[in-house]
Symmetry: C2
Subunit: 538 residues, 2 copies
């Protein structure tokens, strides 16, 4: 017996139309390159997104063809987020922090037809242009520079569109976007999101127990819009009718805190490294900013150290610790306490909040080691595998997929985890970052998070260096707080309160800065390159 | 270009499995026929639902076959809500308040194969049994009566099942449930819900801006589980891991308030008539119950009078006014204020909250009159039409569908509405309850809600009575507060502050009780039967 419900496809079009119809007065604020604030409302946003869809259709964009962006977080990028997929096209956000060869590879691999680019990012385009071939390039004049005559002006292109555009019929399984993973091994791999997955992910983000995004929120995605669709937040925010604040190119602590204060942000989102800077700024000038009483921040992309959750609590800012992947649109788990945990000791609560959390509805998790699926005992280690309606089934046009999906249909995350009996996932490490010492595993993430809880330490990364007897041993690379000095003995003594003796780093390197990947994570392969030479005969 | 996401069907199975895995300790509380409270946890609930699915499969239940229930709101009904659809069957909840001929008609029309029945409802079964033919009947001994030997014991049947049952693969468009509308004209009509629609509806209910159901909630569905799946709340509650409190057969104000206090309910749901009684109880003994600080109630099924919203605010209980239909799974609109409305005058805010509200994400609305689709001007009247992924596409095996769906695929609700420029829908009346006077329309709902705001009036229903000159004129049937007396002159004088003179009722009838339909709404066809004779020569 079939259900007898309407065949109403889950596409981004109803989200866009609802926003334009029900929330015309809601504001979207963008920090421009000259630091001024651009403001307009959903009514304008809707008209411009519809015009863009119309102009793209008139320009001959066919179903499934890719439109690339080289853009910061701005109102124009938001228009493109909707205009492209609602015309039946596929949004391809390029990570302009990648090496130019990688960007060119990605553009060619995805067969991008058009490009929309911020004028401030034209230098990136110049560097890749010898190796790519866009049919048309539209430049967004955010900084009022004149658009070079060889390109077209985005505003002119937009004006050619019709705001009363009648959106095409789109199948919910059609692609709406593509993102490439900035993997550290092999070529970048494309994840192709469907309208259906994006809509379901958007509903999931609005659940109280996941992100709880709502109409009354003032949402600031600090996570770049070229990074997993800014965790889907632009779609979620527009569906709920939230006010959006887009920080443009100014992703530093001072500018972000200014926006938090001036726009009274209630929900922000980004990777831990940015929030570390913000925490430092708050600690050094605690009275400077008057923030919203309800400010909460979703932090993901790397594990959040417990010390950071405690630190933000001191400033009445609630961290929502979440975990996901490019291959998961990205939400996978969120760490919130269950009701029964309210009575736990405060230290135990922080320990739980520092875990990655429990799977959100319709994401299923398991962890597997060489003996099979592991028990949820909080001890046994295995590789995390996931499945769900917004989890990728393969990579676009790639032969690197075989080892990432199991025969029974689960995606292998590459994260090594334990799962406790309450279902809280805790990432011990990336498979490739685990330190293999004397036949046992040492978690670099656990050591890092413990070190970052020490008062003299700002940041810490731990990597494996080769060892003739133990195969590998941990090396800690540490950034100290201003003026502090420190020794291996003191730090290992501190660590020995929590870890077995054989886990303690054999050596410490003190440095000014830990190199970052293009998405703000610790760049561990680079650290291995830097230090492996020094420690190779060690 | 297709999206490359997993083909992960939206069925109720992942909801059930997640609840059992992640929230084993969460409680489900049921008021038994002897008024004692039955308590068990999600772990037990999961095992029993899985056993039921397994037992049904072993009993030969095939994909799409119907299992009927004659049951109050209880933990067993909750097991059946999941056990039947997760075995691939279709849950058919029977409204035992209907006339026995209607129940028998519905059972036969749906071709129900098995029945699960509360022992306290065996008298209903006795009345319909001459006209129906269930293959097997399972009796739930909630009141510890012995199960008559001609029936099977639900507990014995359950014990034959395997709690490690491996759930079948279910297509998301398969039926999970069927409900018959208790229409006042024509034969009852079956609405067949798909797993997909139910899952999407469940996600929608968890959005902060709709119902905002969450893990921390203590949820009490007062709306019967035979009425549109108790508005989908059992599914939503289990997905979020909420504590559920099921009031069994005790749906009166005193018993409900006792449960609100003893279990510290945070979210309750039901039709306005039940909440009117509760408000009266609170007003007469304001200190008696210590309720949760966060108690909110979803009220739908009929329009909520503004006076009632104000009344509950006095007791710090927030009414969430929602509107839906059996044909909509049921959520359609929710009335919450937009941020821009925070600065409005308090009277204007109440006026908005008394409207049915704005459509939830993925429900689209329009209203149509004989000139076409109406403007959203707050004045023009039209019949509300809706569409969306949880809106019915037709009725089961019925020839009464032609006039309910438009050629372009919208469902005609039968509600006459205005929509204001902010998108708030306000139901003026049911099409059949509108009063046609001198070629103009009078809204019975508006008159009722105004009358119910008068201090001397408990309840008011307004119906049309025939009139030789004006075609129809309004008659008000009124229940006064204890000891009050009242006259037509005083009440019409009160109404004339808001309504044109020709809207005022021609006559008043004072009575002790207004008859109710089986779902607790004013029974207007019955009122017309009662009073049309008296007023036929009028």
């Amino acid at each position: 017996m079939d259900g007898r419900m309407m065949d109403f496809p889950l596409t981004l079009i109803p989200i866009l139309k609802r926003a334009g119809t029900l929330f015309p007065k809601r504001e979207i604020v963008t920090r421009l390159p000259d630091k001024s604030l651009h403001r307009y409302n959903y009514n304008k946003f809707y008209s411009r997104a519809a015009k863009l869809a119309s102009a793209l259709k008139s320009a001959g964009l066919e179903r499934g063809q890719r439109v690339a962006t080289l853009m910061w977080n701005s109102y124009v990028h938001l228009e493109v987020y909707f205009g492209v997929p609602c015309a039946g096209g596929v949004l391809h956000t390029l990570n302009f922090r990648l090496h130019e060869n990688d960007i060119a590879y990605i553009v060619n691999h995805a067969k991008d037809r058009f490009l929309i680019v911020d004028d401030t990012l034209l230098p990136v385009l110049e560097r890749i242009s010898p190796n790519v071939n866009f049919e048309r390039i539209f430049v967004v004049s955010l900084s009022d520079l004149e658009v070079p005559s060889k390109f077209e002006n985005y505003e002119d292109f937009l004006e050619s569109g019709d705001k009363n555009f009648s959106f095409p019929n789109i199948n919910e399984n059609d692609a709406c976007g593509i993102c490439y993973t900035s993997g550290t091994t092999g070529k970048p791999k494309g994840v192709v999101y469907s309208h259906r997955a994006m809509v379901l992910h958007t509903f999931c983000s609005g659940l109280v127990d996941t992100i709880g995004l709502q109409h009354r929120d003032v949402l600031m995605p600090v996570v770049p819009m070229f990074h997993v669709n800014a965790w889907g937040l632009p779609y979620s925010g527009i569906m709920m009718g939230s006010k959006l604040v887009l920080p443009g190119p100014f992703m530093d602590a001072k500018n972000l805190l200014e926006l938090c204060e001036s726009e009274q942000i209630t929900l922000a989102a980004g990777v831990p490294t940015i929030w570390m800077e913000i925490l430092q700024a708050l600690e050094s000038e605690p009275q400077k900013w008057t923030l919203s009483k309800n400010l909460r921040t979703i932090i993901g992309g790397s594990a959040v150290p417990e010390s950071m959750i405690r630190g933000f609590d001191r400033h009445d800012i609630t961290i929502i610790h979440a975990w996901g992947m490019t291959e998961m649109t990205p939400i996978g788990t969120v760490s919130r306490l269950k009701v029964e945990m309210d009575c736990l000791d405060i230290n135990r609560k922080y320990e739980l909040r520092a875990k990655q959390g429990i799977p959100v509805p319709f994401v299923e998790v398991r962890a597997v080691n060489d003996k099979g699926v592991i028990k949820w005992d909080g001890k046994t280690v295995g590789e995390l595998q996931v499945r769900g309606p917004w989890v990728a089934a393969d990579y676009f046009d790639s032969d690197q997929t075989n080892d990432k999906w199991t025969e029974d249909g689960w995606f292998c995350t590459g994260d090594v985890v334990v799962i406790d009996k309450e279902g809280y996932v805790k990432i011990a490490d990336r498979t490739k970052d685990l330190i293999k010492s004397g036949g046992e595993w040492i978690s670099s993430v656990d050591l890092e998070n413990a070190l970052m809880g020490h008062e003299s330490i700002l940041e810490a990364a731990v990597i494996a260096v080769p060892h003739p007897k133990w195969t590998e041993r941990p090396l800690a690379i540490v950034v100290l707080t201003k003026g502090a000095t420190q020794t291996k003995e003191v730090l290992n003594n501190y660590l020995s309160q929590r870890f077995a003796k054989w886990w303690l780093p054999d050596a410490y390197e003190f440095t000014d800065k830990i190199p970052r990947t293009s998405t703000g994570k610790f760049f561990k392969t680079k650290l291995r390159d830097i230090y492996s030479h020094k420690y190779k005969n060690y």
